[in-house]
Structure formats: structure tokens, C-alpha cells
Symmetry: D2
Amino acid sequence: MNSNIIRCGRAVLHVTDLERSKEFYEALGFIVTELDSESVFLRGLEEHNHHSLLLKKREKPVLEVMSYKVYSDEDLDKLANYFENEGTKVRWLEKGTQHALGRSFRIQDPQGLPVEFYAEMDSVDRLLQRYDLYKGAKVQRIDHFNCAVTNVQENYDYYINNLGFACSEYTVDDQEQIWAAWLHRKPSVHDVAFMNGVGPRLHHIGFWLKDPMSLIDGCDVLASMGYAKNIERGPGRHGLSNAFFLYLRDPDGHRIELYNGDYLTSDPDFKPIKWDLNDPLRQTFWGHEAPDSWFDEASIVLDVHTEEPVETGEPKLKKTKPQFMI
Amino acid sequence: MNSNIIRCGRAVLHVTDLERSKEFYEALGFIVTELDSESVFLRGLEEHNHHSLLLKKREKPVLEVMSYKVYSDEDLDKLANYFENEGTKVRWLEKGTQHALGRSFRIQDPQGLPVEFYAEMDSVDRLLQRYDLYKGAKVQRIDHFNCAVTNVQENYDYYINNLGFACSEYTVDDQEQIWAAWLHRKPSVHDVAFMNGVGPRLHHIGFWLKDPMSLIDGCDVLASMGYAKNIERGPGRHGLSNAFFLYLRDPDGHRIELYNGDYLTSDPDFKPIKWDLNDPLRQTFWGHEAPDSWFDEASIVLDVHTEEPVETGEPKLKKTKPQFMI
Amino acid sequence: MNSNIIRCGRAVLHVTDLERSKEFYEALGFIVTELDSESVFLRGLEEHNHHSLLLKKREKPVLEVMSYKVYSDEDLDKLANYFENEGTKVRWLEKGTQHALGRSFRIQDPQGLPVEFYAEMDSVDRLLQRYDLYKGAKVQRIDHFNCAVTNVQENYDYYINNLGFACSEYTVDDQEQIWAAWLHRKPSVHDVAFMNGVGPRLHHIGFWLKDPMSLIDGCDVLASMGYAKNIERGPGRHGLSNAFFLYLRDPDGHRIELYNGDYLTSDPDFKPIKWDLNDPLRQTFWGHEAPDSWFDEASIVLDVHTEEPVETGEPKLKKTKPQFMI
Amino acid sequence: MNSNIIRCGRAVLHVTDLERSKEFYEALGFIVTELDSESVFLRGLEEHNHHSLLLKKREKPVLEVMSYKVYSDEDLDKLANYFENEGTKVRWLEKGTQHALGRSFRIQDPQGLPVEFYAEMDSVDRLLQRYDLYKGAKVQRIDHFNCAVTNVQENYDYYINNLGFACSEYTVDDQEQIWAAWLHRKPSVHDVAFMNGVGPRLHHIGFWLKDPMSLIDGCDVLASMGYAKNIERGPGRHGLSNAFFLYLRDPDGHRIELYNGDYLTSDPDFKPIKWDLNDPLRQTFWGHEAPDSWFDEASIVLDVHTEEPVETGEPKLKKTKPQFMI
């Protein structure tokens, strides 16, 4: 199946204090496209679509949905038909239901993650060359979703075989079972990654920065505004993906990765890179052991049909916080 | 036609002194994959294919061919058939003819540029995380070709309608005629650009750097090795493409662009950005007026069938060295 | 004579449109300490003294004075006595005469430059770690004055022998006559430089940046705010001083250098570096030939006693715009 | 007393495997000025003196001595006289005793640290503009010594009152007792710092980098060469000193700080910055809690007279590994 999914597009997060969250994301360098008493629509500096992060004021901080952009409305219908034919329940949201978004539909993926597809989003001014508006880490664009699931192999097979994703890098345990996988539609390392863990949960949303100094500047600006405690891990470099990374926790604990590095994955003869779970350079090429919170904590996700939290389960493979890390 | 062209892949340049050229490109930070008395095969640090720049020792410094990678051997055959059906003469080079490359074919494009297509190239070790080998400007990968042609509109139409390229940005003169265009297959600003000028000629080959400091480091290292005179233009930032750029002339005068910046062009609803030829920010967002040599000089190209230089002609639209530049 | 001059301290510039100048310097990243209808007091992010640049609204754009900070009030008296004893006319400005400044005195130096000495300036909050206030090029502190004079040798001798400056680097012509000299009291490359030219005039005031990326960021922000035309030269690297530099013209044409690089010059056994006037790497290690304006234009200076412009004269050595530059 | 001490000059470390240590420091970007079977003389890229770090092959890894450069041989004699007059035992090492160094003398300071003074060291080529030799973190010059002592107040008083140092920043406990102090002769944050701890011991030697990216590059190069485990802490930013820092352990466990940031401390009216021991931003403006090893481990120092290790004692104030760190 050629899904004609183009890329990860946006995430919808529930937050408990809209003003507090807005301040945090603006400090990071996001642009507020629009806001009202219930929602804040945020985008990066190079984004020409209305938003890549939507915050909704709600009682509980959860991930409502992760959304992918598909090529055309026709592709959207084809994809919905595909899901219905294979028995996946589809929930349509007609145009007008969601601000600034065309018609879309949502499904729960095989591992229980809430996923949405859309073809159209309102266009807005791209602020790429409005350097006078650059602030904080100068967030450029959304890059990827990273999720904890109980059975990585199942989602790995489904996204590759049924949705046309390609694998750039993956981790295996000592029985050669897939413990984590980085999958992409756009030719970067990933649009989505799945890691073995208590799931389904959202581990983090990754945003792309234009250079390493923007990440350092982001740390300095956040610290000067009182957000030093929101820096959970990094800066450091991952072996896997070669990313120069920083992990932050927003005021509700949702995790954001600032990300620079990456490489071009356009080629069919690019061989996915295999890492052993016990390779000390995998998670951290250099930098320090991740804190327990980074391994243990993640955002609860909603059921797209009931709008209730999805119950989590224990992972199929063993949970591992590698002890050898640098 | 869906060409399944993936990206620009490599260029073949003729140089008059192989050792002198090798030294120059190594100073820039290229990796020598292989060399013999007749040729040097060069690649960037993240490239997993054998080479993106092939230097051949010959009497005269010309561009032999610009090569694009297609998805599969089957796509290669389809594309050759397509050209033959429309009356474009195809020259096949069977596997074994060219070192490290699978079978390929070459054509002269509508504007007389020598173009090659291939699906396979030998894989080699990617050196992305061998930071101990990083030197000079730490060249990461090939990014684009930039060519002067006499009739930009013709190639614009052909590459978009017949070969499936998309336009990211373009320049028009005061009659709204296309004066220059940036076209891509991979979702970056371009794989190839065409500019109105004495043509067909190769203006430059662009290579992508990982960050702006690599460009500054490149200037420092080149200057300390006696190559300051090879810096022709920059550093500066283009309005068009938002690239942080540096133009260099190799020992034979072939022009290389070091390039950082760019943005993601994956979306079908991304509207090509139109620039007026007289917009002072177009060529240089900041930085200085380009020297005459940058406007006047470019590399002669070969005929893929006769292997003789292609005669150049005067451009259809007026030649312009904008005087208003900053 | 141990002058106990500590460092260059501040400059006083006359500008014709205070609001327009304020906007320009704020775009560059200066902090406005205070302002009124007649003057704007500016400082860099790490400066704990009230200002390092004072703009006064006047009819004509000139340099009123360059001021040096001395160690103590006692040193100030000693220095004034010294000048009076050798026959240099001293003009005292008692405390209260100048806002935020203690008592000071002014002289015309041997080459006719207006120079002031003071020991005290009001303290203000240092904003070094208020990264949330960093803007533009994030100007950190004043670094040096650069002046055109008709007889470099005379000021070279006077500043070294009479005022205790040391020479870090200098340029000689083909008769080994000193054509330019870089002199310091603080252990950096310079507090003041003298160049052979139509003088006495102020060529530029140099401000220190924390890193090379701040200079690139400065260019981007200035260009996005419409100040691209104010960039006169650079970015590039000087051979002399090893500075990564950018020259800007303020709205009245006063020239500002943004400067990063430098090295420690604390040691008595550091041998001043001699450059030949014709060394192509001297002015530009890499980067482009300076525009004529950079050689020809400079700010008129005032007489500290009459407050009238000082008439300029032709330089003793030949004026040279080196043609060999890269 | 005006000591005419100019700056910290060099350290002499004993290492157990000369080749292994040489490889490590070269990976960091040091230049080997000279070496023989017993010693390696290292310097930074901008240093015009023979070495700033001398490694000697010995049985046990200790600090032999920290050396300060004074202005002249006459100043050296004055300083030696001063020490002898106050009853501090002086050990002269005549010219020729130490390779590349003029005559010097050594003392044990009030807290038992081995300290040396010299005026002359051989000059060598400064490699500041040999960018082709830049490697790793591109170490520029020695910046400071940091030592653990049992009674910070005693050394604070002695260095300020008797040796003419000035204090830039200091930390007090809740009884306003000095817990740590940063003291300088050159106008940077420090030439030496004293921290309350098991002492006398050398905590680290700080080397100055030209910009933040050199520190990131250093991490990447070290990791690619197998030295990731030698990175003990950072990168991060200190509140105190504003330094962007990285702490490394050499193959014998001696600690090296790579350091960029700092600010100018030339002014007599600069007020030392006071930090509370419990201020969470003091040690880390952003970045992660220091590991235990950073608090607990340090290099043993030698007695300059007996050449035996100096016995350590417990600190006067309470040992504190702040728990509140970010």
C-alpha cells in the first residue's frame, strides 16, 4: 500500500493551565498563530501550515492525537477505505469540526495509539526570514513523535507493510527481537519511533532546530526565565540518529525534544542501522546517563472513539534502563 | 510522469591536475573513497554511496555529466523508454563501464545539459560519526546542481511536467517571465536550479554542511592552507532559499557552493515563492554584491554522445547583474 | 609613566536623529540604560558601568570624545598633572557636569584626537545572565577605538612612552615606517588603533561579541529589520588581530565594528607582530576586498576646548588601498 | 604588596603512562611542543610560551606544582624576598634545571598547595592562525587552577592581601563564611579558585576555548575516539562565572575543564559577586547535577621541598554536595 502519507504534521496535547503552557512554549521559541480561551495554536518559524502543536485546556494532561499529513483529499479517502476494509474503525471529523484543519479521520493504531490523518491545513505566513522574531531555541518545525508501546514488532510491521513507512535505525535485544524502531515517510531519520515500554504512551514530540547553537541558546534563555528545572536530559548526542538533543518537560510534564543533526534517508539502498540494546553508544554517543524519569514517565493517550484514556499494559520485552551508559 | 527520480546523485568533473584538485577537495573536508592515476572518487561524511563527486584527469576542465539517482532498475528502464518514446536520444552505459556504478544512461536535456540516471551505486561506510575525520568545512553530502541556460522556461516546463520535479522558488523579470527556478525531487529547496545566462553551462555544484560554524571553520582552514584566493563570494545569506552560503573556485575554476540553511519542501500545498529580479534581498539577504566572475564565469559542459564541448548561446532574457545589491 | 589607565571606556557620538539611532543600536543588541530627549545611554550585556556609548542629539554627526577609565581618582589627578607639566592643555569637567560620570578631564592628543579620562562611572545591573534580553548581535562590551591620523609614529610613541600602552601588532610600509599600530592597556589586542590616513578622524568603535554565531545572528536580525544596507564590510577574518569582524554604518554613518576573536596579550615577552603593508593576509585573512567607503570615510572629531570640528590633514605616509586583497 | 604576578602559567602533572596521556591531550586539541621518554610539553593554539601543561612520567599521578608567571626577573627576586621575610621557605630552581624555563622558585602556600613563580619561558611559534592544525576542542590557552583546601578563608586572605589577587565571585555558607572564592590577576574571572573540601588537592586545571561550538566539537571528537567515558560532567553553564563548561578526566584521573564564557574583570569598581551556597543556579545555571566523583575526587599534590605527597585534611566548613541542583 502506498499510503501517500507525507510526514508527521501536528500533535494535540491537553494541558491544565493554558497561560502557563503558552508562556513555556513561547520561551522555547514557538510562534503563537492563534489562541482563544480554550486553545493555543503553535508553529515553528519555517512552518507554512497553521500549527504543528495544538494545546487544549482540559482537566487532565494527555495526548489527544498525533496527526499525519497525506498528499491529497483523494489519498485521505483511499486510506480511510483501506482501514475500514481491514476492520479498523475510522472516526471522521468533517471540515469545520477542527479549527484551521480540513476534513480528517482518526483511528487507534494496532498498539492503541491515537492517530489522525488529514490533507489540508490553513496556510499562514512562513516566518523563516523574520529573524527579528527568533527567540529561545528558535524552533523551526515539527520533526517526529516518539511512543512507548508494549509490542514494538507489531507496530513496526504494520507501519512498514501497511502504511509504507521505511526503517532508518532499530535496536534489538540479545534474542534479536526488535526493542525499538525509527520509521519515516519524509527522508529524515523518523516521523515516528516506537520503544518497548509501558504503553501505549507518548514519550515525546521532537522539534527540529536549525543548528546546535540554537539548542545552547535555548538552554540559556530557559534558565534565565526560571525554566532550568524543565530541562530533563541533555544537551548530548545520540549515537542512534546522530541527533544533538535536549529533552524538556512542559508545565504538565509532556516531554518535548529539541533536535538537531539527522541525515538524509531518501535512498532505497540505505540499509537500516542495527544497534544492540547493550551498545553503550546507542542512546548517548556522549552525554550523561538518562535520569529515571526519562525512562519511566510518558504521557497517557486518549481513545479516539471514546475520548477516554487508553489503559496501559506492560511491555512484551524486558524493560531496560541500560546501566552502562556514559 | 512519475519519474521516481530520488535526488541529485553525483557530478563528474574533468580537471587538469588530479593531485592539486585532490588536495583542494580534501582541504574542504571531502573524503577520498578511492583514487587511481586517472580519477579521484570523493564523498561527504554522511554519504553511504561510493561517491558524489568524481574528478577525472583530462586536458580541459569541463563538466562531463550530472547524475540523478532513481528508485530502482525498473524505474531506470521506464525512464529510458520514456525518453526514447518522446524522441530523446539515450546512451546506455552498461554495468562495469563506470567504476562503482550500476548500469546508467545519459541524455542531453532540452537546454543541452548532460544528464545521467542510475539506480545503483556501491555502498561504502558512512562516516557520519567519525568526528575524528572531520576536517575543513566538514562536507556532509551533495545537495544540488546550478546551471546557466538560455531558456529557463523550457527546462522549467520539462523538468516539472515530464520528470516530476516541483518548484520551491523562482524569479521573474518585469514581464513576469521566469528568469530563474529552483526545482526539487527530494524535499529540500532544490536538486537543480536553472538561471538565465550564457548556456548551457554548469554554474556550481552545491554541497550541504551540518551547521553555519562549519562554513566559518572552512574559511579559516582554507585560508591557513593558502586557499583564501579560492573564496569567490560569501559568506552571506541568500534571500532565495535562505541558504547561508560560500562560493569557492576549485583549482580549475569549477565552482563549489558550501550550503547550510534550507527548509522542508515536502508539502503539495507549499506555494512556490516568487521573487522579483529586482528585489534587493533575493540574491543576498545580507552580504555583499557578487563579483563579476560569479555572474560571468561557469563550466563548459560536454555532449553525452560526442563527448565534445557543447557550444553555448546567448540567453533569451536579458543578462542582469543587479546593481542594487547590498 | 605608569598611567594606570585601565581600558577604553566609552565614546560620545553626536547623531542627528536620536530615535532612529536608538532603534539601530537596539537592533544590534545594545541595552538602553537611560534616555531623554537629548541623549541615549547604551551599554553591552556584560557591562556593569552605566554606558559605553553615549549618543547626543546634535546638528552634525561627529565624535565628541573617546574616554578611558583610570584606576582611581588619585590616578586621574596624577595624569592631569602630567599633561599640564608637559604643556598639554587640560579641560576639567567636574562631577555633575556629565550624567552618570564622576569628574573627568579632556585633552586633545598629539594627533588632534579628543580624549577624556575618568575614574568613576555609576554602576548598574550587569545583564550577562539575562539571556532573555539578548537580541541581535548580543553586544557584550566596548573593546576599542580605531582612528585615522596623519602621523601614526607620533601617536605610537606618545601612547607607549608617555601613557604606558603596549603594542600588540603593527604594520610597516616598505621603508619600515609604521603605517598602523594596535595598542592596549587591558591585555587584549587593543584599546586603540591608529591608521595612516586623512586625520584626525574616528574610523570605528569596536564592540566585543561572545562568539562567532552572535555575529551571524546579528546579520540576520539586521537584514530582517531592513538594515542590510548598513552592513559595510564582512563578515570576514582579519589576519591582523585574528578578529572575526563585521563593519556597520549607523544611520549617521558612524562606523561600528562587531568583533570576536582576539587573544591574551598580558605577557611582557609577547613580541609585537609585524605585518608588511603589502601582506595580502594582513587586513583580510579571508573575506573580500574592503569597499572604498571603508578606506575613505570616517567620522569628524571635535576639539575638546572649542567644541568645533578639528580640521583634517593629509597623511604623512602614502594612502593605500591595497589592491592585492583577497 | 604589588606582586606583579601576571597570570597562571603552567601546571606540572605526573602521569603513569606517557604515551596514553599524550594521545588523550592531543585528541583534546593540545599541541605537543616537545617530548622525550620522560616528559611531554603541551600548549594551546594561541600560546607563544613553550608549554602550559607539562606531563612527567612517574609512578603516581599527582600534581607536582602550579606555576605563575611574574612580570620580570627583578619581580621574581622581590617576591622571593617577600616570602623569605615573612618566613615562607623558598626553594630556588636555577636556570637550566627545568627545560625551557628560566630560574624559578617554589613554595608551599598557606593551605599546603605547591606553587611556583617564574618570569621567563622559551618562546615558540604561536599557532593561532594555523587553523589547519586545529583539532578536537581546539584548546587555546591555560585559564585557571581550581583547588580544594580545608580553610578557604586563609588562602583568600593571603592571595588578596599578600599577593595582590582580586576576587571576582565567591560563595558563602549560611553563616556568611567564605566557602569558595574565585581570584584573579589577569582581568578574567580567575587564575585560581579555592573550594572548601578535603585538601590540599588540585580539583582541576581550566583551559580556555574560543567559542561554545569548540566544546561541542570536542565532545564529538572525543566520543568518536573512544573517550566518551572520560567526560565527567557537562556540557552545561555555570551560574558562577557564566562559563560554558565541560569536565574531563585524563587517563590518570586528573581533571581538566574546557571553558568558554567568562567576562572582563579589569575594573576596581567591579563588585565581587556573592552567591549563597544553596543558590540552585550557582554551580549550574543549567545542566545536570554533578556526579559524586566531581565532588569527591581530586589530585593529590606534592610538597615542593620533600617531593612527597602532602597529607590531606578534612575541611573546616561542612562538605556539601548540594541536593537542590538542577
